[in-house]
Amino acid sequence: MPKVRSRLIVGLLALTLAPFIPNSNTNAQRSAIDTYAITNARIVTVSGPVIERGTVVIRNGLIAAAGANVNAPPDARVIDGNGLTVYPGLIDAYTDLALPEASPAPSPGGGGGFFAAPPPRPVGGPNSTQPVGLQPEVMVEDVIRPGGNEIESARNIGITTALTSPRTGIWMGQSALINLSGDTPQAMIVRSPVAMHVGFTPLRGTYPGSLMGVFATLRQMMLDAQRYRDSMQIYERNPRGIRRPDTDRSLAALVPVIEGRMPVVMLVNSEREITRALDLASEFKLRLIVAGGRESDRVAERLAKQNVPVLLSLNLPRRTTAALPEADPEPLRVLRERVEAQQTAGKLAKAGVRFAFQSGSLTDMSELMVNARRVIENGLPAADAVRAFTIWPAQILGVESQLGSIEAGKIANLTVTRGDLFDRNSRVAHVFIDGRPVDLRPAAGGPSRSSLSGTWIVNVNLGQGDKAITLNLQQEGDRLAGAISGPLGAGEISNASVAGGGEVRFTVVFNVEGQTKEASFAGRLANNEIRGSVTIVGAAPGTFTATRSGQPN
């Protein structure tokens, strides 16, 4: 097409489409700093063939154009893309980014644990009829907070967008898809709610206290939701003469789920867990998405047939323990699992199962690309690996018209690398989110400083069996703050410190048998667990193990 005419057409198009292009700010200002052009770059559009040398133009937060014959507009800030490759911004399909630590579940009836008389259901969220952990009405969009170290770590490796979801409980709540930049939660949210999230960790000290109970509870609540919807419909049709049904936010939140309008993400990894999830989804006609999915290749046929996508964790299992002669040899099952987990993605692709990558609560995000490489080495075509970070999550999460490929009109989330994305020696040169470049911090030297922020379940052993307490930590650099709650009392931690290599120390005041005692914790973070010793003044010392709350094992 002759140049003049194409430009005319483009201009006409721009004029006609202009009113329909959403603006990112209400002032509708278009200033020069909103326009960028990355020139002479290799462009992996994902939606089409790779453009070996071309230009991407960003304007007003969107991709304005991308192609071999696209020129940088005069008002654009030009980035020389020589030697660079432009990918759509990578999507991490399952995280807890931007979420504060959840408030600890209040312990029922004086820390009774198993022995408590059936307690009145402790009220968690506002006006909920259900205990914390069974509140499907919880929405992460209410608690998203911008900024923070974890978001920076994710961006540093090229992640522009993440599905963020609560991690605790059974009905864990409703997730949101966020861009990893923005000053306000509203600026971050791309879509909310995205899905209902379900975990299978039983509650402590109250029903359901076992995995069997979890299934029974899920079923009962879904049946109750069906009835709730029906009774509300009948009442609303003609309230006269009918006794008003109680409103119930938890059941109301489940109605879109049981009607298949909102997908359900279930955190399941082993073959039998995935099978149980598929069975439950069939029983209640749910739109299931599997998250974790380590053994999903073994159920690939059924996943494909039931049209269930997988948010595949790239937190690949690896051996973390040293070799000690006194230790038992590891079970064959574990050895096989670690090797086979690398092959899952390749097998899913062959079987036609849709999947997307997620970081699976990796503490060290640099492992993400290392593991992506492993997965490619073990049978996943590299092009599929790119798709699993871009267009496939966009499709699975319902945002394919906005994200996942480099096409005009989509949100300008771009990951620009020097070298191929999965190459060992490549590095992320630029990241654009919503059309603006983000600051990439240099990788921290030495051992990675994994963040301790979050909710931890701490099993303390003082010689009389384990006691579980909840610990909430916030880590800002070297500073650590937080609070403890549970059967040994509640309180703020003090004298807290974090050292490189994951050494954690803090003290807290406990209430032990009516007396206040000070306890000092000293432990080490490794592989998402903190282990160490606890010394209580005036009592026998003990040990503790802390795992992140809501962690799949």
């Binding site: 000690l324 002669p325 006194e326 230790a327 038992d328 040899p329 079970p331 064959l332 099952r333 052993n461 003082l462 010689g463 009389q464 069996g465 282990r531 026998a540 010392p541 003990g542 040990t543 193990t545």
Partner: protein, 442 residues
């Protein structure tokens, strides 16, 4: 069926017999020794060849004669052994027999484990309950002896070898203080969080904690050694300052001098190696109790001549990848490797009566039938240094004899007669009594 034979058996004391038929009565009256002859039976001597058709003469608690052509003394009470077999009474070397009646929910009946880690002076024989229902229940299945050991702590106490007959501990004791019992610090988890020490979760911490515990044991043993020397010195020479007596260290002296065996409870390979090493260092005479991994260290055990009391024939293999029969096969492997061993139920009391089945299972998986019988008769006697008195049918040994209508180890075999210490034992128990009470309830 057994009641009918009572009269024949005790013709000289029939009124007596009716009285001590009742298990409760048996608790107060010990049958007297006498002169008996078992005639025309197949005699499984264990120490030598079987005697297809022989006679055994028992007098005053001992075996007086054994053979194909033995003269029966006048006045002997005879048992017609036609079609029957005679075996030595079985010995279970790994029990808490008599120390516990009901382990769960009746703590008053539990005397297995004293408070504290170092209790060498806790002597099992003191607490053995001769009236425990477990005793009769066990012996009617052909087990005549048990080694009863305390549990708990690091040094649990001293085990006793007892006859399962007697109205008072003194009457039961064969060797009142037969062995010191030490729990070699464990690597495997579990065992509850009792006692002074915490349960570290990871292996390195466990190994460190174990070292500390070993150090505690070491120190006490060294103190005992020093104590023994001091006492000896004073005994020889009164001018030496008189050392105070110490009830805790005193019992340790024969053990630290290697005069008596020390039992180490250990199952895992590292624990067994550690126990053997420790015993060598401290110059003790070790016996391993448990021994699930013993076959893995067979050459070491053979080299150091350390015997093993196997209690895990009926345990589930602890590792996922273990062969399904790895524990069934242990005895056969040790036998082949030339390691001394015996088979035990490892049970507190209620299951000791099934000892024969443990041996039988070992025979199903590689052990010869003859060795399986030895594993519950002569081998435990040898390991416990009482082979001069027990474990086989030989002249001069204690008359602990079981008369059966078939293979001792088979479950379908019945026990017809039982002698312990040359005393006839009535084959009733709490269980036969309850059976009699309810079997005809209409």
């Amino acid at each position: 069926m057994i009641k009918a034979l009572l009269v024949v058996f005790l013709s000289a004391a029939s009124a007596f017999a009716q009285q001590i038929g009742n298990p409760t009565m048996q608790q107060g009256v010990i049958p007297p020794r006498g002169t008996f002859a078992i005639r025309n039976a197949r005699i499984v001597t264990v120490s030598g060849a079987d005697i297809e058709n022989g006679t055994i003469v028992i007098r005053d608690g001992k075996i007086e004669a054994v053979g194909a052509n033995v003269t029966v003394p006048a006045g002997a009470q005879t048992i017609d052994g036609t079609g029957l077999s005679v075996y030595p009474g079985m010995i279970d070397a790994g029990t808490n027999m008599g120390l516990v009646e009901v382990p769960q929910g009746a703590n008053g009946t539990v005397d297995t484990s004293e408070v504290g880690d170092l209790n060498p002076n806790a002597k099992a024989i003191i607490a053995v309950n001769p009236h425990s229902a477990h005793i009769a229940v066990t012996r009617v299945e052909g087990i005549t002896n048990t080694l009863t050991a305390p549990t708990g702590g690091l040094i649990s106490g001293q085990a006793s070898l007892i006859n399962l007959i007697g109205t008072a501990p003194k009457e039961m004791a064969v060797v009142p203080q037969a062995a010191l019992v030490i729990n070699y610090p464990r690597i495997g988890g579990g065992g509850g969080g009792f006692g002074g020490f915490q349960q570290p979760a990871n292996l390195s911490e466990t190994l460190t904690a174990n070292e500390r515990q070993l150090e505690q044991i070491r120190k006490m043993l060294r103190d005992a050694e020093a104590y023994g020397r001091a006492q000896d010195a004073y005994a020889k020479d009164r001018s030496v300052p008189r050392p105070d007596r110490n009830v805790v260290l005193e019992p340790l002296v024969p053990y630290v001098r290697g005069e008596q065996p020390v039992i180490f409870r250990a199952d895992r390979e590292a624990e067994i190696r550690g126990a053997v090493r420790f015993a060598e260092e401290m110059k003790l005479k070790p016996i391993i109790l448990g021994g699930n991994d013993a076959w893995k260290v067979a050459s070491l055990l053979r080299e150091k001549n350390v015997p093993v009391i196997l209690t895990g024939i009926f345990s589930l293999p602890s590792r996922e990848d273990d062969a399904y029969d790895v524990l069934y096969e242990q005895a056969a492997k040790l036998q082949q490797a030339g390691v001394r061993y015996c088979i035990s139920t490892g049970d507190a009391g209620a299951e000791v009566r099934n000892l024969a089945q443990y041996a039988g299972m070992a025979a199903a998986f590689g052990l010869s039938k003859a060795d399986a019988v030895k594993a519950v008769t002569l081998y435990p006697a040898q390991i416990l240094n009482v082979a001069d008195r027990l474990g086989s049918i030989e002249v001069g040994k204690m008359a602990n004899l079981v008369v059966t209508d078939g293979d001792l180890l088979e479950i379908r075999t019945s026990i017809k007669y039982l002698l312990i210490d040359g005393r006839p034992v009535v084959l009733t128990s709490r269980h036969t009594e309850l059976n009699d009470a309810f079997k005809n309830r209409k």
